[in-house]
């Protein structure tokens, strides 16, 4: 499972900072390291403002002002190593995006060009990257869209003629068109209802199983993580607080934040009163000292207020950033 050759992307010590002015900057991602392997589904969980979207943008190499990224994101393409963060954008656009990595952005139902027919989005992509002729590309797009379970007349429609759910399915189809090795899905299902959510997730998982690539799902919805992911990273205030395999993590979450996140959710068939966390996530312009979670933590100790805990290896593949699990 954990063979070196299976690693398709290795990110080490990533820092992401939004520099708003010389004196104000927001450290949205703080020292995050992760690995993506072949045939792997990784989830990134956390509430809004915890840096999960920023992390994915850095991994994808989509870094625009005022975001400044440090660290290294090494992509392994058949033995060739490329550090994404040291390439320029034209190179990434030409050689990496869509073909090797693709990205399904948040609010993806609004990213289609309103002046282009849906089919032209597909044709443009195929012509640009596979150097196909127009007719050939259109035919391929038709086959592909039927294969994805949609009717081929959607290609003739303009984006506004389709429902939100249909547009979202088109975006997923576009992102998977060139059989990328890594797919980043940033909140792919937030704006849709449960029925469509399941349809979209099925679409993503089916393709992942078929292509055996790695899929990164970013969402705050723990239910989606439980149903889709194999490994899970929980982020809080720009840092990874817990990282583990999904199944044991849901059984017995270690970090108090993960515990609150999982235990506060109401479940069907269970009327037990549930309690949430007090307070709200910290302001990253001015984060609290020590552990970023201590103002809301029910187990906060003295050391938590002074010093930030390191990410501790708790068990094989299970890492947690909390003083409670520090062996002394």
């Amino acid at each position: 499972m954990s063979e070196e050759s299976d690693v398709v992307l290795k990110a080490s010590n990533i820092y992401g900072e939004y520099v708003l002015s010389p004196s104000v900057s927001i450290k949205a991602v703080n020292d995050v390291s992760m690995e993506l392997r072949k045939d792997d589904v990784v989830g990134i969980a956390g509430e809004s403002g915890c840096g999960k979207s920023t992390l994915v943008k850095i991994l994808y190499g989509f870094i625009t002002h005022p975001l400044v990224a440090k660290g290294s994101v090494v992509l392994n393409i058949d033995g060739r190593n490329i550090n994404i963060l040291s390439t320029d954008e034209d190179y990434r656009r030409e050689n990496i995006w869509w073909k090797i990595m693709s990205y399904i952005p948040q609010n993806s139902m609004n990213v289609l060009n309103p002046f282009m027919r849906v089919g032209d989005h597909f044709v443009e992509l195929l012509r640009k990257h596979l150097k196909m002729e127009r007719d050939e590309a259109y035919k391929m797009a038709e086959e592909y869209i039927v294969n994805m379970g949609m009717r081929k007349d959607v290609l003739k429609a303009f984006p506004h003629q389709l429902s939100g759910g249909m547009r979202q399915r088109i975006i997923v189809a576009l992102a998977l068109l060139l059989k990328p090795r890594i797919v980043f899905a940033d909140e792919p299902t937030t704006a849709v209802d449960v029925v469509l959510q399941k349809v979209l997730l099925h679409l993503l998982i089916d393709k992942q199983k078929e292509l055996r690539n790695s899929l990164v799902v970013v969402t705050h919805d723990m239910g989606v993580h439980a149903m889709v992911t194999q490994r899970l990273m929980v982020m809080y205030a720009g840092r990874v607080v817990e990282e583990a395999f999904t199944a044991p993590l849901f059984e017995d979450p270690k970090h108090p934040y993960t515990q609150a996140l999982i235990n506060s959710l109401p479940r069907l068939g269970d009327e037990k009163p549930r309690r949430g966390l007090e307070g709200s996530p910290p302001d990253l312009r001015n984060p609290p000292p020590g552990c970023k979670f201590h103002p809301r933590c029910p187990f906060a100790m003295d050391i938590c207020r002074r010093e930030e805990p390191p990410l501790i290896e708790y068990e094989n593949g299970w890492r947690v950033r909390c003083w409670l699990y520090m062996k002394r």
Binding site: E47, A226, M227
Partner: protein
């Protein structure tokens, strides 16, 4: 028998699609009765099911084409503005959009207290506001000089709730009140609703697509699909033994918080037809016919409500032989 608190009586709302386009019924012949005792009534369904339109009809934002809505036996259009607002209050979905970014939220509370509650005395007014704010878990001195961008989403939603509570309403219509909030803050707002219901005796109409929270907090539930109520009854019963095929699909597609159920969830496929919404809205008979696994020829005529114990379900499968 006492007068019901709210009675939605055969209400229909028609929208026109496009300028000269066809008409469709966003809310089609809906009946709801809320007895006069504090309760949380959930209206659940997917987007485009007409649940928000129904909320807006109850709040007098839209006027129904047919049918009437009675509040304590009186048509809501016969109640004067002030006593209507005193009795029925809204809480909207997006707390960030509910307040003018250029004005302090406290101003909305003051205006509500002045214009709707009718308090003239300034001291009394501030006292009421402070009391209400502390009830929803906010501190008066923290709120009074802040602008909306200085609050978090959870705090803004608490402010909306405090504003809605000022006139001591009988009914609060909450349209997806927690869907914009962070997961760790959601449950606190939901617990606050339960507390308000138990302690202040306020009834809620809770509009949601999240069946897990509906199960957790509500007493009764109505499942809507394309403008009609397909199933209604006590929420624990409806959500643990769903009768209508649509309710069953909704519950099956809900992601479970348990990775052990992953395989089962993944195997349960959803038949998602390419039929567009408009076609479903104007479908004669049962609107669910295009997706229903049990569809039969009878479904082309509209099914009536069949009563099974205290659950009403609108499906031919439950016709008494």
């Amino acid at each position: 028998m006492s007068q019901p608190l709210l009675q939605v009586d055969n209400v229909t709302k028609i929208f026109r699609y496009g300028f000269l386009g066809f008409k469709f019924r966003a809310v089609d012949n809906v009946n709801i009765v809320l007895e006069d005792k504090p309760m949380i009534f959930s209206i659940a369904g997917e987007s485009g099911s007409g649940k928000t339109t129904l909320a807006k009809l109850i709040l007098r934002i839209y006027k129904p084409e047919y049918g009437r809505i009675l509040f304590k036996g009186r048509n809501i259009y016969e109640i004067d503005e002030n006593s209507f607002r005193k009795n029925i209050q809204p809480i909207m979905q997006d707390p960030y959009a509910a307040f003018n970014p250029m004005q302090k939220p406290i101003r909305y509370l003051r205006e509500t207290a002045k214009n709707i509650v009718g308090i003239k005395n300034d001291e009394e007014l501030e006292e009421l506001i402070a009391k209400t704010l502390s009830y929803v878990g906010l501190n008066y001195s923290d709120v009074v000089n802040k602008y909306p961008h200085e609050f978090s989403g959870g705090e803004l939603q608490r402010l909306s709730i405090a504003r809605a509570l000022l006139p001591k309403p009988k009914l609060i219509v909450a349209d997806e009140p927690v869907s914009m909030l962070d997961a760790s803050l959601r449950i606190n707002i939901i617990n606050l609703f339960k507390k308000i219901k138990d302690e202040l005796g306020v009834s809620f109409i809770y509009i949601t697509h999240d069946l897990a929270t509906a199960y957790y907090m509500s007493d009764k539930i109505a499942i809507m699909f394309r403008g009609t109520i397909v199933e209604s009854g006590p929420s624990k019963k409806v959500l643990s033994k769903p009768l209508h095929p649509y309710t069953q699909t909704l519950l099956e597609s809900l992601p479970q918080l348990d990775p052990k159920k992953k395989e089962y969830w993944y195997r349960q496929r959803i038949k998602f037809s390419a039929y567009i919404e408009e076609e479903e809205f104007i479908a004669k008979g049962c609107k669910y016919i295009h997706r229903c696994p049990y569809a039969m020829s009878k479904c082309k005529t509209e099914p009536p409500y069949f009563k099974i114990d205290d659950v009403e379900v609108r499906c031919w499968l439950y016709e008494k032989k």
